[in-house]
Structure formats: structure tokens, C-alpha cells
Symmetry: C2
Subunit: 285 residues, 2 copies
């Protein structure tokens, strides 16, 4: 059984490895399917702006390409005292409590309205307790089209596989959690076509939980690569682009009005560019 | 001295008259300075979706034109029981309290990055107390340019005139209130170049307060008309447009993360299209 420091080390190092792998794969797709040689721009940041305290930080990577109009893949490992706003709102916290959180978060907004946008996030958090959380979900521009439904079917099938392998019955639970979470009550509509969402994962076997987190990351790469390859050459027109800009406006609404990650970032004084990396390159209302 | 029903009638009727006047003036500008004959589209809505209760409603008017890429001018008069979320948050409310609120709200996003975006809102609210609130502020795309600073100077001069005529010292107070309110703490930047903002106005002379509210509305028309005429023919390029889309992204962030009007609308079950009418036709992150 690993002690807590080993768990922190293993998880945070994995998030960095995954960031590298994902960025490499996206750069290859970008150069294979366009004449661009766009690469991710890397920017490191520290949470303590004055440089006096060690409060952690992160590495933000953003590519603005021809296939991936805006792709952001961030890792961060932050720690310190929980702000008053968060005390008692997350498990194992109390006044004066400290926290440690490490994770990877990515959002990809492809240029073609035929390629769905995708989001993936996995994290390990410790307070007096410790747990994993994360999720992955897709947002096609046209949620109703047969094409999109076919993609969603494949996407969910792959997710079901890894969830059921991790724990029987977890797919249904995580799928529902995703549907409930990525929902815009003021619009009475879902953000996209779902996926999985999970939090407070602590099964008793840290190694198994960590393995599931790794599998989610690797599955993201394989599944999204296939989706991109299958859709990147589909023709699209101005109407498709308008629908994409409309869909992106809902993405903005969700992230600014509802997303817990955005709130957590703002309330723990995270890097503003990293927090808002998820926002689309364009949106229309 | 008017009784409360007369005050409600006078104020809510004024907001309708002002809506008419503003829309007419904007349509004239639209047709004078472009080859479009775009008009406002009018949509009425009721707050009670089932039509069983009378909870008020409003009239939304939106024009998507060639000069005014998106102009929304809404009036609403809503009433009923305050939701739990709002009880004790606004003056004169308590559990089970009812409210009545009438107002006009407009946001104009011009196509040319050289014409500033503008927002204006005035309202009369009653609970156990009653008061006026409102404000007007401009957001040029390029906050630093000499052109914008010149416009802001003229804008503030006119606002100072009407504030000081209403009440000595009020301009400084309302200007500071505006600067404090239209500020994005997470960006450490102001939304635009300010204006005036005021709330809980109840001087003891309802007629004088009402007259000030009318003057704010009429001043909006005169001042914005002059600003549009002075800037509509200025040339602009793609860089200016990009800056406009950037500025608009901050507008979205402010309205979704901070704006009290948006929160009030969502929490009083207002019309979602009317609440989000303020969001720009396009934005970039």
C-alpha cells in the first residue's frame, strides 16, 4: 500500500506523462490532416504570484491549429490552505484545512463542425480524505444528426467497456452523473451527447482506482483519434459553422454559469488563462 | 403624492414609451447609415409558462442589423412571491414576501468596432420598500485609443450634467459605483470606460426620482445618437474586429459570472431569451 506522498507522486507524474502523450498525438493529427505545422505552446505558471510561498502551479499547453482550432491541455498540482469559500464544501475539509490537488484537464474545439468538441479531466485530490475524480464527454455541433449519434454510440460503447472492467455497474452510474452534470437548466438542454463523470472515487484499492484513471486518459487518446480520423474529411458549409458557433455559446454558458472546475479554479486563485482555456475560439449569441 | 399603484403605473408606462422611442431612433440610424431596412423584431412573453397565474411578463425587441449587429431593448414588469434565494437579499423582503419590478434594459453591440457597445437599464422595484435603480455605461473595443477616450469624455460630461442637476455630488458617487460594479476581478480589468450606476434610490421625492429616471433614458438616446453619427463612418480593419471580439468575450464573462441582472432574471424565472439578450453576436477566446 502506497503512503500518501507516494500516491501524490504517482498520480501527478502520470498527469504529466499523459499531457505529453496527448499533445504529441494531437500534433501528429494536426500535421497529417492539414498543411500546418502548428505545435502546442507551453506556458508554466505558479499559483503564488509573489514567489514567496510554494503553492504549486501548472503547465498550460495551447495549440491553435487548422484542424484543432483551439486545443488546451493543462496539468496542475496545487496545494495550500483552503479558502473560506471552499471549507466544508469538499470532503475532509474544515476551518484551516489544507488541500492538495493534481490533475489534467483538456478541451478541444476543432475547426470543422463535423468533428465533435471534447473535454476530459482526471484528478487526485487530498484533504483529510483523498479521492479521484474526472470525466470525459463530447459535444458535437449538431446533436441531432445521424452522424453525431453514430459517433456518440461508439464513444459510449468504449466508455462502457472500461467502466465495467473497473467496476460492474459503474458505467450507468457515471453516465447518469455526466448527463446530470453537463446540463444547462436555464436552457433545459444538455451540453452535448454525454460521456462519463465521476467524483469521490476511493474504492479501498488505490492502485485499482489509479489504473482506472490511467485507462480513462489512454482511452481518450484512442477514441478521439478514431473520431477525428472518421470525421476530419467530411464536407461542411456555413450553416454547419453557424450551428457550431451556437453550440459553443452553450459551452461558454455552461462553463461560466455552472462548471465546478471553473469555480474551484477561481476560488483557489488559479491561473486565469488556464481556467479559461476551455472557452471556445468563437461563439455566437 | 402618488400612491404605490400610481407609481407602478407611471413608471411601467414610461419604460414602454422609452422602449418605443429608442427602437424608433435606432431604426432610423440603421436605415440612414446602411442600405438595410432592418427593423426590431418584437416578442412578448409571460413569466408563468402554464398561463394559470398572472406573474407578469415583458416585451423583448431585437434588431440584427448592418449598423447595429445586435441590439436588444427589453421591457418587463414582473411580480409575485420572491424565491427563497432572493429573500433577505434585497431590501424590504422577508420570508413569503412579494415583489413587483418594472424596467427597461438594453444592450447594443454595433458591427463597427469603432462604435462603442452600450448598456442602459432603469427600473422601479417595490417590496415592503420601493426604489429606483439603473445605469448606463459604454464599452469601446479599444479602451486605450484616443478616439475612445474622447468619446468617453463626452459621454461622462453629459452624465455629469444630469446627475448634478438631479442631486449635487451624485455623479462622483454613481460613477464610482459603475467603476466598482463593471469590473472583472478575475481579469483585474474594467468592462469598459464606465458611466453611471445607481440603486436603492428613494430620495423622499418620488416625482424627482422618476424625473431623473426619465432623464437618464432620454440622455441615452441623445448621447448615443451623437456617438454613432461621429463614429459610424470611421474605417476599420480585421485587427479592430479581432479586438472587438476579444472585448466581447469579456462582456460575456462579466454578464455570466457577475451581473446581478442576469442572476435576478435566472432566480426569478425570467424569460431566458430576454435575460441573455445582452450577450454579443460573436465573441472570441
Amino acid at each position: 500500500m502506497k503512503n500518501i506522498d507516494e500516491k501524490k507522486k504517482t498520480s501527478s507524474e502520470w498527469f504529466k506523462v499523459l499531457q505529453n502523450n496527448i499533445c504529441s498525438e494531437l500534433e501528429v493529427l494536426e500535421s497529417n490532416y492539414s498543411d500546418s505545422n502548428c505545435k502546442f505552446k507551453i506556458k508554466q505558471w505558479k499559483r503564488d504570484k509573489n514567489g514567496l510561498d510554494d503553492l504549486g502551479g501548472g503547465e498550460m499547453r495551447v495549440m491553435r491549429g487548422k484542424i484543432f482550432e483551439k486545443a488546451g491541455v493543462n496539468v496542475s498540482t496545487v496545494y495550500g490552505a483552503l479558502s473560506d469559500k471552499l471549507v466544508n464544501k469538499i470532503p475532509g475539509s474544515e476551518k484551516g484545512a489544507s488541500f492538495w490537488a493534481s490533475g489534467i484537464s483538456l478541451v478541444i474545439h476543432p475547426k470543422s463542425p463535423k468533428i465533435p468538441a471534447i473535454h476530459m479531466n482526471t484528478r487526485f485530490i487530498t484533504t483529510k480524505k483523498s479521492w479521484f475524480g474526472g470525466g470525459i464527454d463530447i459535444t458535437p455541433s449538431d446533436k441531432e444528426s445521424l452522424e453525431s449519434k453514430k459517433i456518440a454510440k461508439f464513444f459510449h460503447k468504449e466508455l462502457k467497456k472500461i467502466c465495467e472492467e473497473y467496476k460492474k455497474g459503474s458505467y450507468e452510474k457515471y453516465k447518469k452523473w455526466c448527463d446530470d452534470y453537463f446540463f444547462l437548466p436555464h436552457r433545459n438542454e444538455s451540453r452535448g451527447l454525454g460521456g462519463i463523470f465521476f467524483d469521490y472515487i476511493d474504492s479501498g484499492s488505490w492502485n485499482q482506482d489509479m489504473k482506472f484513471i490511467e485507462t480513462v486518459g489512454n482511452t481518450f487518446i484512442n477514441v478521439y483519434k478514431k473520431i477525428v480520423i472518421d470525421t476530419v474529411n467530411l464536407p461542411w458549409n456555413i450553416k454547419d459553422k453557424e450551428l457550431q458557433c451556437h453550440r459553443r455559446s452553450r459551452y461558454v454558458e455552461f462553463n461560466l454559469l455552472h462548471d465546478r472546475g471553473t469555480k474551484f479554479g477561481l476560488e483557489t486563485d488559479g491561473n486565469i488563462d488556464a481556467i479559461f482555456m476551455s472557452l471556445p475560439p468563437s461563439a455566437s449569441w
